[in-house]
């Protein structure tokens, strides 16, 4: 069932034309009750299940997914991983995640193709430059690797960028996080699913949650497409649909769900070996191992659950990409898609207990959920197992909107919320 993947298993299976690989995880029918039910089988939910089983020895766990694993935002993002956030609370959380990324493939025995190729954040004017140097200084105080490059160093690091001074978006400098990079997003979901399944977690796909049974302020069960499932604890981990499920459970959240879109081009030979991001003009570019340019765009301005992005946003992003990289002007785009991202007013997530006893919420990651996948699962598992937050996610309580202790990461979150 859970044979280790290795060069030998690869050779052995090559002899039978790769037709006899065992399934990577089981597909059981749900049991009548569980200690913990996790709603949402994306990267965050599966990571939570894995760390619950591994770190907290809670294995009577089900992960319920309405569609297929990683079919939501996990498979729709632009795969960028970095941790150069401004405030202490965020830096600690995202840096913890980045450290888990660095050992993930070994730990899960699953190649997530984590590639620390370096992430550039461009500055196009004096204000950007001041803002970014502030962030570099803050990062260094928090032991997050971060450098400030001038325009010449940017050109050395990414030679295809157009730095002629008369460009529409002049580049004055950039921050560089060398430990940042990309990972194969589907592999993250599959790797965590396989590892969690091996520890006894039930992964149940095509099982939408349609309601909650709550009595005396305590969660009793979840209603699903496959009948009611009793649970001592229920953990929401559903990104764009966090508000929808919170409403079913009877509380309100400060979240806006908006479409965020991305595109890939036709595959070409290696041309860009780092990640280039620009906050100001909403364009992010990297190149996948298949050779496609992976391009991230901005969010639509209106609330939308449609999982598709508006054409004006595509146009704006591609316009900016062509300005920065004139050599891409004649490239054709192959696919464009959108994901529903849950944005908070302060561009920081909520990993928290809720007004309902035994119900937990992990959401509001907005446009930056992918990079935090392992860290999010790790702190969420602790919050569920101990019924109190880990010091790393204490500040990300939903109560901060009442106390006013907001963690404003609009600068570091990159995509306009």
């Amino acid at each position: 069932m859970t044979a280790r993947y290795s060069i030998f298993s690869l050779l052995r299976n090559a002899l039978s034309y790769h037709e006899n690989w065992p399934a990577a995880w089981r597909s059981p029918e749900p049991k009548a009750s569980y200690d913990v039910v996790i709603v949402g089988g994306g990267g965050h939910g599966l990571a939570t299940a894995y760390y619950l089983a591994k770190e907290h020895k809670i294995t009577n766990v089900a992960v319920l997914e309405r569609g297929w694993l990683g079919g939501g935002n996990t498979g729709r993002n632009t795969t960028i991983v970095r941790s150069n956030y401004l405030w202490d609370e965020s830096a600690a959380l995202y840096e913890h995640a980045l450290k888990l990324w660095e050992t993930m493939s070994q730990e899960l025995n699953y190649n997530v193709m984590f590639s620390q190729r370096g992430v550039l954040n461009l500055a196009h004017n004096q204000h950007d430059l001041r803002e970014l140097s502030r962030r570099v200084n803050a990062n260094r105080l928090n032991d997050v690797d971060s450098e400030l490059l001038d325009a010449r160093q940017v050109k050395e690091f990414c030679p295809i960028i157009d730095l002629r001074a008369n460009g529409r978006y002049p580049v004055l400098g950039a921050t560089l996080q060398r430990r940042g990079g990309t990972a194969r997003h589907d592999a993250v979901a599959w790797g965590y699913a396989r590892a969690a399944d091996a520890l006894g977690v039930d992964i149940i796909q095509e099982c939408p949650v349609t309601g909650f049974r709550i009595s005396n302020g305590r969660i009793q069960a979840v209603e699903t497409g496959k009948g009611a499932i009793e649970a001592k604890k229920v953990a929401l981990c559903v990104a764009g649909h966090t508000s929808v499920l919170a409403e079913l459970a009877g509380f309100r959240l400060p979240i806006h769900s908006v479409p965020l879109q991305a595109l890939v081009s036709e595959p070409v030979k290696p041309v860009i070996d780092c990640v280039v991001m620009s906050n100001a003009i909403h364009a992010y570019v990297s190149q996948s191992d298949k050779g496609e340019l992976v391009i991230g765009a901005g969010t639509d301005k209106f609330i939308g659950y449609g999982q598709r992005g508006s054409l004006p946003v595509t146009e704006e992003t591609l316009g900016a990409v062509c300005e920065l990289f004139p050599m891409f002007r004649r490239m054709r785009m192959m696919r464009q898609w959108g994901g529903t991202v849950d944005t908070c007013p302060d561009a920081s997530p909520i990993v928290s207990k809720t007004p309902v006893e035994g119900l937990y919420v992990n959401g509001g990651w907005g446009t930056g959920g992918f990079k935090s996948t392992p860290g999010s699962g790790w702190v969420y598992a602790h919050t569920i197992a101990e019924d109190r937050p880990h010091p790393l996610n204490e500040a990300f309580d939903m109560n901060r909107f009442v106390t006013g202790y907001l963690i404003d990461e609009h600068g570091a979150a990159a995509v306009a919320h």
């Binding site: 929808v244 309100r252 209106f302 004006p312 009442v402």
Partner: protein, 97 residues
């Protein structure tokens, strides 16, 4: 791309408009009597509905006037457009989960 029927100018392209979020949020009548939790609810908490949402738009690059729209946030179908101060329209009930 949305085609938004401005009640003053008629149907125009989405790019001419700016978004104003949920409509019909009333400023508290007695602000000094509100608790922190009630303020948080007024300032931050939103239904973020999946289904028909009553929301505000402004025709920034046209008549520059505000108005309300009843739009389905899943299908993006616009069910009704009405001026500020007018009564809420009747809209179909949706129960997407």
């Amino acid at each position: 791309m949305l085609l938004i029927p401005c009640p003053y100018c008629g149907e125009r392209d989405e790019t001419e408009f700016s978004y104003g979020g949920e409509a019909h949020i009333e400023r508290p009548k007695e602000p000094d009597k509100l608790s922190d939790a009630e303020w948080a609810d007024y300032v931050f908490m939103r239904p973020n509905s999946k289904g028909v949402l009553l929301e505000r738009w402004v025709h920034s690059h046209g008549c520059r006037r505000w108005f309300n729209v009843a739009r389905d946030t899943l299908t993006y179908k616009i069910h009704a457009v009405y001026k500020m101060g007018e009564k809420r329209p009747r809209v179909p009930k949706t129960d997407y989960v």
